[in-house]
C-alpha cells in the first residue's frame, strides 16, 4: 500500500523551480534512497512529502493517519537553549522514562538521557535523532543526509541500524544521501534526481543507467557502488586497473551493510 505519493509534483523555492513533474510513491517495508547532485531538489522533495512546502503544481497524498518519523539534515540547537536528551525525546509529546530509556537503548545510546544535547558527539547526536524519530512507531521513516559528519564505519553502522529497524518496525524508509556506495547497496529502490527524476529502479539498474553516469561519472563514489557492475563490463579495463588496490575494500563495504 502506498504511504505517500506525489503526482506531477512541481515545487518552487522562491523564484527557482526546485522540482518539476515528479511522480513518486513509497510502500510499507520499502527502503528508497534519493541520490542527486547538490541543488537537485532532494531536500525539496522530502519537505514537500511531509507537507513543509506546498506543491506549485501536481499533488502529494499521504495515507490517512500516517505517522512520519523525521530526521532532519541538520538540527542547530543554539547555545541559548538548554535541552537534555530526555527533554528532546519528549517533544512534542511527553514520554515516560521507560519509553525514553528503551528508545535510547534501541538506538545504542543508552544512558545518555540526562546529557545536554549540545554535549553529544556527532554520532551520538544522530542516534538520538533516530531514537526520537522511531519513538512513535512510524509508518514512514524519513532521513535527510542523516550520516553527515559521521566517519565511514560510523555511517555503515548507522545504515545497518536503519535496515534493522525497517525489519522490526515494518516501516518504510526514505532517505537522501550523498554516500552512494553505502546507501545504494542497502536500498530496495534508488531514485536519481536532478530537478526531475532522471532514472529509478533497483540499485544496480540505476547504477548502470546512462543518466546516472552522466551525473556521477564512473569514478570515486560512483565506482564504489558500481563495482560489481563494472566487473561485468569488459570494455572499461582501464578503469578497473585504476582502482585495483581498493577493490577488496570496495567489495566489502556494501556487503557489510547488508
Amino acid at each position: 500500500m502506498s504511504l505517500v505519493a506525489a503526482h506531477g509534483l512541481t515545487v518552487q523555492v522562491g523564484s527557482v523551480t526546485a522540482l518539476s513533474g515528479v511522480d513518486f510513491s513509497i510502500s510499507t517495508g520499502e527502503i528508497v534512497t534519493i541520490v542527486g547532485p547538490n541543488g537537485s531538489g532532494k531536500s525539496s522533495l522530502l519537505r514537500a512529502l511531509i507537507g513543509a512546502v506546498p506543491a506549485a503544481r501536481g499533488s502529494v497524498t499521504r495515507a490517512p493517519g500516517l505517522r512520519i518519523g523525521y530526521v532532519p539534515q541538520k538540527l542547530d540547537i543554539g547555545a541559548t537553549l538548554p535541552l537534555t536528551v530526555r527533554r528532546f525525546l519528549s517533544l512534542p509529546r511527553r514520554r515516560k522514562t521507560p519509553e525514553i530509556d528503551a528508545a535510547l537503548a534501541e538506538a545504542e545510546v543508552a544512558g545518555l538521557a540526562d546529557r545536554q544535547m549540545s554535549a553529544l558527539s556527532g554520532g551520538q547526536f544522530q542516534r538520538v535523532l533516530l531514537a526520537r524519530a522511531v519513538m512513535d512507531r512510524p509508518d514512514l521513516l524519513i532521513l535527510d543526509e542523516a550520516t553527515q559528519g559521521l566517519d565511514q564505519p560510523g555511517s555503515a553502522a548507522f545504515y545497518r541500524k536503519i535496515a534493522d529497524l525497517r525489519d522490526r518496525l515494518n516501516c518504510a524508509v526514505l532517505m537522501v544521501s550523498h554516500e552512494l556506495h553505502v546507501v545504494m547497496s542497502a536500498s530496495d529502490r534508488v531514485i536519481c534526481l536532478n530537478g526531475h527524476i532522471c532514472c529509478e529502479g533497483a540499485p544496480d539498474i540505476v547504477a548502470s543507467a546512462p543518466e546516472y553516469r552522466a551525473l556521477f561519472g564512473t569514478g570515486t563514489g560512483g565506482a564504489l557502488a558500481l563495482y560489481r557492475h563494472e566487473h561485468s563490463h569488459s570494455h572499461d579495463h582501464d578503469h578497473g586497473h585504476r582502482h585495483g588496490h581498493g577493490q577488496d575494500r570496495m567489495h566489502d563495504a556494501p556487503e557489510e551493510v547488508r
Binding site: A52, D76, T80, L83, T84, L91, P92, R93, I142
Partner: protein, 266 residues
C-alpha cells in the same frame, strides 16, 4: 491595599515580568531580540493612533505592535537580511510615531512616560489591563509550549509531527504584541526589549531544561521589578530604567557566577 501607588506599581511590575520572561526565552532561543525591539518601537505609533482616534492606549498599541510584527514577518520572505529589515522598520516606526504624536492638535502628551514608562502612575484600571494581558499571554504560551518548542528547534521536524510552524510563529507574534501593549506603562517602549531578553539570558547559565530556564527567568524578572521599584523609591531615580539596571546587574552576576562555578569544577 490597592490604594497605595507603590503596591499597584509592584503588582504591575510583577505582572509584566511573569508574561515577558517565558516569552523572552523564545525571543532568545529563536534569535528574535531585534524583532521584539521593532514590535515595541512600533507601539509609539500606536500611542499616536490612540490619541488621535481617542481610543484606549492599550488597543492602539496592540494594533500597531501586531501590525508591525505581521509586516516584518511578511517582508522577511523578501531579499533583505532580517537584521537590516528590522533596523529599518524599528527606527522608522519609532521616528514616525514621535512625529505623529507631535502633530496631534490640542493634545499635550508626556512623551517620556511612553518612552520610559510611568509605573508609579498605574491606576486600578491599568492594573486590570496589565494582569489580564499577562494572564492571557502566560496561558497562551503555556498551552502551546510543546508545539512552540518543537517549531523553535526545527520547522520541518515540527511539520513532520503534525505541527504547523507558521501557526506557532503567529501565536508568538500575537503574544509579543500583547506583552508590548501591557508593558508600555511599566517600562516604556524603549526598554520593553530588556524585560524580554535580560531575564532569559540571565537564567541560561543555571538551566538544564527549557522549563527551568523559563521559571528562573520569571523569578529574576519579578525580583528585578520589585528591587528596581525599591531602589528608585530610595534614590528618587526613574523607575523603568532602574528596573532595567537591576536586570543588567543580574545578568552580569549570573555570568560571573557561572564562570566561577565552572572554574571551581575544573
Amino acid at each position: 491595599m490597592l490604594d497605595d501607588f507603590l503596591v499597584r506599581a509592584a503588582l504591575a511590575g510583577v505582572g509584566v515580568a511573569i508574561a515577558a520572561a517565558p516569552l523572552g526565552c523564545f525571543v532568545v532561543w529563536r534569535r528574535m531580540a531585534y524583532f521584539g525591539e521593532a514590535t515595541a518601537h512600533a507601539a509609539i505609533l500606536g500611542v499616536a493612533l490612540s490619541l488621535s482616534l481617542s481610543m484606549s492606549i492599550f488597543a492602539g498599541t496592540l494594533v500597531a505592535a501586531m501590525g508591525m510584527a505581521l509586516a516584518v514577518s511578511a517582508l522577511s520572505q523578501r531579499s533583505y537580511a532580517m537584521d537590516t529589515l528590522l533596523g529599518v522598520m524599528a527606527h522608522s516606526s519609532l521616528a514616525l510615531g514621535l512625529v505623529a504624536v507631535s502633530l496631534l492638535d490640542g493634545v499635550r502628551v508626556d512623551l517620556m512616560s511612553f518612552l520610559f514608562g510611568d509605573i508609579l502612575a498605574v491606576s486600578r484600571g491599568d492594573l486590570a489591563v496589565i494582569w489580564g494581558g499577562a494572564l492571557a499571554v502566560t496561558l497562551l504560551v503555556f498551552w502551546r509550549w510543546s508545539a512552540l518548542l518543537t517549531a523553535t528547534l526545527n520547522p520541518d521536524l515540527a511539520t513532520a509531527a503534525g505541527i504547523d510552524p507558521r501557526r506557532e510563529q503567529l501565536i508568538l507574534t500575537l503574544a509579543l504584541a500583547v506583552t508590548v501593549a501591557v508593558a508600555i506603562k511599566v517600562v516604556g517602549v524603549l526598554l520593553i526589549g530588556a524585560m524580554l531578553v535580560i531575564p532569559a539570558a540571565s537564567a541560561r547559565p543555571f538551566s538544564r531544561t527549557p522549563e527551568g530556564m523559563a521559571g528562573l527567568a520569571i523569578l529574576l524578572g519579578a525580583g528585578a521589578a520589585l528591587g528596581g521599584l525599591e531602589l528608585s523609591y530610595l534614590y528618587d531615580t526613574p523607575t523603568g530604567p532602574t528596573i532595567v539596571c537591576v536586570l543588567a546587574v543580574c545578568f552580569a552576576l549570573a555570568n560571573l557566577g557561572s564562570a566561577m562555578l565552572s572554574a571551581r569544577r575544573s
